[in-house]
Each structure stands twice: as structure tokens, then as C-alpha cells.
Symmetry: C2
């Protein structure tokens, strides 16, 4: 919004930058986390930008087939560079981030390997991880089915133990049991961790993970009984069309018993189902980890969109010239500011709440290892809710940034259509946002119901213990400047969240029964959960 000489001569970006009233270098370090992080990021960004194999300018112009081939080429080249340059794990992960093209390797490293690490026995890890690390096998994560996604307990694929052959029979009994969506499944993967209902001795023990080979290691053709395919085009010109999201059906496919992931529970040679002494709560740790990384990604995606829209707004001039002089920079319009600046602020807020969530993950992990489960539920509500609120806000914000660039935002060359199309599935994967917020609401309702019994809520729910005060407090703000006082803001958010939760609880209490009440009030419960999570974002 600077109006000096540089602006008059047309270099609006330089003028705006010169007008910054904070230390840009210090902010860079704060954003990245450390000087070291800035340096590594810069180095990896330059490595990608200077390598013609990683070019991005033609991504939205390729046919689906050529785009997929391009993704394979980039993944192989990235692997080659990682090995050649002996990159650290941190560097390799950043390099892949800057290549920035969804592909099968994301699932191989992001889901297949962690699933074996988290749910496999030491023996299983020793057998499978070296194969995965050397890319001698390519793995994906086959959980979601045509009929069930967020409702994992509803999955229909079966893994029936057959004591005669000492193995499991993997089968797709219905059309809706077809695995549907897994990335890397359609074309690339040789193996998958498949989630299926474990059935032994005639009893259904619910969903468990199994390592299943899908394609021949000789000629990459599907193994007998395995039907595979790509599920087709997706939102956007490029976006997730670089990914071979797939469909998979099993017709009585046999695997050896030791390909059940057996860290938490086992099936014995005789077919007995046995729990190990490893606590099942450890699985929550993985979920917290995955979701905290989604929150971190939200701020990255949002900051890219906001950066494009802010720069555009500084350069674009429109209207406002009354005497033939220069027009007004779009950035100077209050209507543009009132839409754009809250998104800019959100990018920072999500960045720092992501850091805090990272701390929470460490904290939860340490407590789990010490078999202390006291904060697990609250931590689960936190990560589930933050995942939902930040991804929804980010998807909406990218689209808003696109609109803030006027017609130009609709061109792929603005970068925004692709950023939106590639980001928006985050609202659905790893738990649909509505489903997650209802889980948060359940925990909120439980906490409210325990307030009268004197049980003190913990962690991010501690404020609910101030129920007496917050139900009656009046906003202390007298002047506009008062809103700059964090204590006033915090109390306003606390009072709002608590009152919404108490109100929901009272309304549910009037229903015939708890479940009916929860059902009838679910739209209010969603809003209540969002208010609680927004309080966390504001205060962390």
C-alpha cells in the first residue's frame, strides 16, 4: 500500500516490499522454524528449479497418459538425485515437496512404510522394510472402499483364516467392497497394505491390515484373482490426475499367515485370535502424526495462494482514476483487504498452531510409551478438529484467492486453479471433516456433562472449567484498540465456545434420549466444535 516513487514508476512489488514494517529475514526464519531450515529449503528449492526434468510449466497441458509418465519420470529422477547427492531424510523429503506432483511415491513413503513400521512385528519389519527402502517393491495403502471411507468399521473386504493352508483368503464379497481411491494402486504398486475384516473360527474380529502382493515382480501383470484399474479423471487439469488412484478387487486371493500385520494382535497357527501386549492406543499416535502433518501442509498451501493473490493485488490497478492519473492498486481497496488480509493472517495462524500440534504429538507419544492415556482423548479431539477446520478454511481460502485475482485467477497460468484442485481432497481424506467435527462434538458434550461432577477438563479443554465465570462474563472491550489485547480476544472465544457447547448439551438433554438428541442437534454441534477449535487456533 506504499505510494512512493517506485510505485509511480510501476514497480509496485518493490515499493510494497520496501514499506514492510517488520524484519523480513527474521520472519523467514520464524516461519521456517530455524536458520538451518531456511537454508535447507532454499537449497532444495534451487535444486528442483534448476533441473529441467522437474519442469512444471507444461504440467496442465499434458494428456492424462503423458502426465502420468511425467510423474514416473520425476519420481525416478528424484530418487536418483537423492541417492547421488546422498541427501538426508530431511533434504529428501523437502526435495519431494518441491517437485510437488502427487505420485505413487507419496503413498509408498507416506503410508505403506509407516504402516509396516507401526503395525508390523520386528520380524515383519526386517523382512519388508529393506525391500521397500530399495524400491524392490512399491507399496500402497488399500483402505478406502467404494462403499466406505471415513467409516472404517464398515469396510467389507474379508480376510478369512484357513487353517488347512495356514493362510488368509482375501476376498471382495460385494461391489461396494471394491477398494477405491488408493493412490499408487491403479498402475504403479506391486504390493499393498490391505485393510479387511479378519475372520477366524467363524468369528469376525473387525478391521486388520495385511500385506498383499498385487502384481508380478517379473512383468508387473496383476496376480491371479486380483483385478486392478485406474478410477479415472479427477478435479483439475493436472492436480491429482498425475496420481493413479485405483480400484482393486480380490477373488479369493491367498496369502501366508505371516502377512497379517501382527504387532497389536495375531492369529495363531491353530486360528486363535490373540491380542499382543502392545497397547492398541499406539495406533492413535500414528493418526495424530498424520493429522498434524496435514495441518502443517494447510499453512503451506494457504501461504502459496495468499502470496499469489497479494502480489497480484499489488500489481493490478483498476478504477479510481478521476483526473487521468494512475488507477488505484487493487490492494488498496477496502473490499479486497477485508477478504484478503484475514486469509493472510490465517496462513500464519495455521503455521504456528501446526508447530504446537507437533509438540502435542511428541507429548502424546511419550505418554503412550509410559502407558499414560489420560490426555489421549483430548489430543484426539484437538488433532481431528484442527485437521477439519484448517483444511476446510484453506480450501475455501485458495478459492477466494483465485477470485481475488479476477478473471486472471481462472487461467491455469495463475497457479491457483491447480492449487485448489490438488488441495481440496484434504477435506475428505484422513477423515471427512464433518465426521471428524462430530467426533470433537461428542467429546465436548462428554466434557460438559462431567463439569457438574467436578471432574476438571484437561489441556485445550481446561477453559471449560471456568464455566461459572464464562457463562456470565460480559465482553470487556470498550474501544477498538481493546481488540488488540490478547486476553480480551481469548475470553471472547472461550465464552463463545463454552456457551455454544452448554447450549447444545441442554438441548440434547431435552430429547427423548442422548442419541436422538445428538442426531437432531448435529448441525449446531458442528458449529460448536468449530468454535472450540477456533479458540485453539487463536490461543496456540
Amino acid at each position: 500500500m506504499a505510494m512512493d516513487h517506485a510505485a509511480a514508476e510501476g514497480d509496485h512489488l518493490a515499493a510494497e516490499r520496501a514499506a514492510a514494517r517488520f524484519d523480513v529475514e527474521a520472519m523467514k526464519v520464524a516461519w521456517a522454524g530455524s536458520r538451518h531450515a531456511v537454508d535447507v529449503a532454499d537449497r532444495m528449492a534451487r535444486l528442483v528449479a534448476s533441473d529441467p526434468v522437474f519442469r512444471k510449466d507444461n504440467r496442465t497441458m499434458l494428456s492424462r497418459k503423458d502426465l502420468f509418465k511425467d510423474t514416473l519420470r520425476k519420481a525416478a529422477h528424484a530418487w536418483k538425485r537423492i541417492v547421488e547427492l546422498r541427501l538426508t531424510e530431511e533434504e529428501a523429503s523437502l526435495l519431494r515437496q518441491y517437485v510437488d506432483q502427487p505420485g505413487y511415491v507419496d503413498l509408498h513413503w507416506g503410508m505403506f512404510v509407516p504402516a509396516i513400521k507401526g503395525q508390523g512385528t520386528e520380524e515383519q519389519q526386517k523382512k519388508w522394510l529393506p525391500l521397500a527402502y530399495k524400491f524392490q517393491i512399491i507399496g500402497c495403502y488399500a483402505q478406502t472402499e467404494l462403499g466406505h471411507g471415513s467409516n472404517v468399521q464398515g469396510l467389507e473386504t474379508t480376510a478369512t483364516f484357513d487353517p488347512k493352508t495356514d493362510g488368509f483368503v482375501i476376498h471382495s464379497p460385494t461391489l461396494t467392497s471394491s477398494k477405491w481411491w488408493p493412490g499408487g494402486l491403479g498402475k504403479a504398486s506391486t504390493h499393498a497394505v490391505v485393510y479387511a475384516r479378519l475372520i477366524t473360527e467363524g468369528k469376525d474380529y473387525g478391521i486388520h491390515g495385511f500385506i498383499v502382493q498385487l502384481r508380478s515382480l517379473e512383468d508387473h501383470s496383476p496376480l491371479p484373482g486380483v483385478t486392478l484399474g485406474d478410477i479415472g479423471g479427477k478435479f483439475g487439469s493436472g492436480a491429482y490426475n498425475s496420481m493413479d488412484n485405483g480400484v482393486l478387487r480380490f477373488d479369493h486371493v491367498r496369502i501366508p499367515r505371516d502377512q497379517m500385520l501382527m504387532r497389536l494382535s495375531q492369529v495363531t497357527r491353530e486360528g486363535k485370535y490373540v491380542n499382543s501386549d502392545v497397547p492398541k492406543q499406539l495406533l492413535y499416535g500414528t493418526m495424530v502424526y498424520v493429522r498434524q502433518s496435514i495441518v502443517a501442509d494447510a499453512s503451506k498451501a494457504l501461504s502459496r495462494a495468499v502470496c499469489i493473490a497479494v502480489r497480484y493485488s499489488a500489481i493490478r490497478k483498476q478504477f479510481g482514476s478521476q483526473d487521468g492519473g494512475p488507477e488505484t492498486q487493487v490492494l488498496n481497496y477496502r473490499t479486497q483487504q477485508s477478504r484478503l488480509f484475514p486469509l493472510l493472517a490465517s496462513a500464519y495462524a495455521f503455521r504456528f498452531v501446526g508447530d504446537w500440534l507437533n509438540w502435542l504429538y511428541t507429548d502424546v507419544t511419550q505418554k503412550l510409551e509410559a502407558k499414560d492415556y489420560s490426555t489421549l482423548q483430548e489430543a484426539h479431539a484437538c488433532t481431528a478438529g484442527l485437521k477439519a477446520v484448517t483444511t476446510s478454511a484453506t480450501a475455501d481460502a485458495i478459492e477466494e484467492c483465485r477470485k481475488l485475482c479476477g478473471g486472471h485467477g481462472y487461467l491455469n497460468s495463475s497457479g491457483l486453479p491447480e492449487l485448489f484442485a490438488v488441495y481440496v481432497p484434504a477435506c475428505t481424506y484422513e477423515g471427512d471433516n464433518v465426521v471428524l467435527l462430530l467426533q470433537v462434538a461428542r467429546i465436548l458434550m462428554k466434557t460438559v456433562s462431567q463439569l457438574t461432577s467436578g471432574k476438571q477438563p484437561v489441556g485445550t479443554m481446561a477453559y471449560m472449567g471456568k464455566v461459572q465465570h464464562l457463562m456470565q462474563s460480559k465482553c470487556a472491550v470498550k474501544t477498538a484498540e481493546d481488540w488488540l489485547n490478547p486476553a480480551f480476544i481469548q475470553e471472547a472465544f472461550e465464552a463463545r465456545a463454552l456457551r455454544m457447547a452448554v447450549n447444545c448439551a441442554q438441548n440434547i438433554g431435552q430429547a427423548a434420549n442422548q442419541e436422538e438428541g445428538f442426531y437432531e442437534r448435529s448441525p449446531d454441534l458442528l458449529e460448536s466444535a468449530v468454535a472450540h477449535i477456533q479458540l485453539i487456533i487463536v490461543t496456540k
Copy 2:
């Protein structure tokens, strides 16, 4: 939400349909406008669906080049069928609607021909229209430039009259003056109506339209001095990528004087600028017409999205099974209903406000012909505001419908990603929604300022005359049922809109000057304009 036998057996759609508590056939007729309209629409829809040339199933899988060729093929085939079957204008227009693939013909018929009809003299119409009707020339509408869109007065292309050659010199003096976006320009058009600043006798007379030939009628190559190109990929897999949105630059291109569209003003042989006796207000009539058709299209797009999301919600089952019985249809969740049903209601509301706007257009046209301009400003506010509110709401609603279909909405095969990508530019073209709403707000502020002088507001602003009552009235609603009383709803919307407008006017009054106040309060003014338009939608 029916729970009968059919549902138990899995045919949820049949069960839901059987449970309808209104006459479906009567609703069909009400929606289409008449029995005749239903019949024609059915006939044209079948004609398109049964013709393999018009297939749509591969649209999102084609490369950009093949998609463009496919569009050319469909446009030519549609023309052939229209001629062969001697379709009426109504039938031909519906057939093109059902082909439903943006292409150069949309601009030829929708903008080029109407511009000549509206702004050309009788002589010009006699010369150019037969060529256009027989497709001996293909026309587009070259208004928007790289630097200016909604701000038409800021366009920079010049048309300088040269008395020596009795013609105009069309020129692009700056980079930002490049024509940018016009559909049909990149590849197809031979001619364009070009908007440029008319300069004669050294004076700039502002923006006027000129018919300019761009490409050779022999070999389709650009004429000397004309630089043409395609501006590249756009949002979505198919969507507007079937359209050759283009860039156009002129290097002193000469056209004869009689290619200026001269119905409203002329340049004489000597270079004198003369206004004709045709009132300029007639141009507003065209704008009202185009915008009322955009509102009608909003309800069409929205109804398609809602239809997909409602059907999906009826078929998709998830959670809710406590005893191994069937799961709950997603449609039965309050959270789904509270998001989906308002969109369903909006589709109907936009449908019927579109009808009313069509009446308004007829009314305005008749008044203009009688040189009565008394309602023009109010009608302009109405159409501009309704264009903005319905297109923004529809774009958001299509995206919401996509999310309501969970992960499946992200697949192109759901139809929703493409529907969104092809619809969303409606928020920008024919006037950016923010710009339009600020125009509405200006008229609202003017109306408020005249209230004290006793000038009675007209048409959709008549309610503002009840200022004394509405500023003090209390909502009469006592029970939930009261909200079904249209009079209560209307008064609530009236009171809201008026109070927001009066509040804005008061705040503006406190500023140093009117312009400064309008600038500072522009975010509130936007909301005030939306409230006024929502009242119109609720009551018409």
C-alpha cells in the same frame, strides 16, 4: 427419507420418489414454464443424447487439442442438424444448451450478432447479419483487455480516425491494451466486434464498438498487423478448455469508417463526432437482457448440482448401524440436510426470480421505447445485484454439492468438478460481482439520502419508503410455525436490508467526504447490497 420396502431392498431412489408429497408432473411444468417447454426440452435432450457425435463421456479425457477439435466437430454437427431438421430458434437454442460444451458459436450467436443488432445501423445490419447467419463469417466479442475487464472505461485500445483514408486505425498502444479472454478469438473467429477508444480531431470520445476482420477468409491466417493467440489452459479438466479464449494485438490496422457501429453515434466523413437521436439508454436494455439470462442459467447449473447431490445422498449409506442392520442413508443426517436443502430451495428461488427478471426486461424495454427512463436505475440495480448474488451463491453451492458427495464428488465421473469449473467464471464475466454489488450499494445510498426529501423509492426499493416503521419494528415471530408466514419473512428481510443501508449511510455521513466514506465503508456496503438483493429473491 422414505423407509419402506423398496429402500430396504436397496432401490433408494424409487423409494424416495414414491414418497414425494407433491405432483411431480405439475412441478415439471411449473419449472419449465409450460407443457410446451417441457416437451421441446425433452425432445431436444433426446436428440442430443441419442447422437454419438454429441457424446460427453470422454470429454474430460481428451488432450486440449483433441478437446478443441471435438468442440468444432460438435458445433458443425449441431448446425447441420439444426438446418436438416429445420429447428425453430427456441429448439436450436435448447439443442446447443444440451450439447453443453463451451465453444466459439456461443460468442458468435450470443455476443457478436446481438452487438451488431443492438449497436449497428440498419444498413450495417443488412450487410453483416446475413454473413453471420450463414456462418460465412465467424464473429467474437473483443472487449476485455489484459489490463481492464469490469472497468470498461479503462480500456486502452485506440481507434483513431484518419480523414485522409476515411477510416480508423486500430492500435494496441501498451502491453495491457492487448485484448485478453475473448472466447472464439484464439482459433476460430474471422471477425470481431472490437471495443476501443474513439479518437477523432485529437479528442478521445471514449469506448465504441468496431467491426474488424482478423483472419483471411481464404486461408484463415491472421491479417497483416493482427497478432493472435490462445491464452492457455483454464480451471478444470474439460470445462472452458474447449473454448479458444484468445489474445489479440493490433499494430495500426486500418478499417473503413463504416465499420464503426453507428447506431448511437457516428463519425462523419470530415471526422466530426455526432450523436444520433437513438437514446444511449438502449444499451442498458442489452445489459439487462444478458444479465437476466445469467440469472436463469444460475438456476439451471444449481439444479443440476443439487440433483446429483440429492441422488447420491439417497443412495449412499454410512454409519448408524448399531445391530448389524442396514446403515443410514446419508440423506437422513441432519448435518447433510442442513447443508443440502437450502441449496435445493435456492435452485427453485433462482428459477422463479429469473422469470420475474425476464418480466422486468420486457417492462424496461417497453419503457425505453417510450423514452421513459424513470425505472432504469432501479432495474439496473436489480439485474446487476441479482447477477452477482445468484452467480456467487451458485458457484459456492456447486462446490458444496461436490463436498456433500464425499470423496466421490472429486472424481470427474460425478460430473461436479466440471460443473463447478465451467460455471465459476460467471462470477467474473459480465461484471465482476464485487464491482456490481458496489454499484447496487451506490444506488441504495442515493435512495436513502433522498428518503428525507420525501422522494418515494420505486419498484424493488419501494419498501425503503416504510423507513419509519422498519427502523423500529420488532420481529412478530412467536413460534417456529410463524416462520412459515411469508409476511413475517418479508418484513424481517425488509427490516434487515433497510437497517443495514441506513447504518452505512450514517457512517458514510460521518466521513470527511462522500467518496472517502464510501471507500472506507465498502465492505459493509457489499453486505448491505447483498441483503437488499436477498430480499428481492425472497419476495419475487
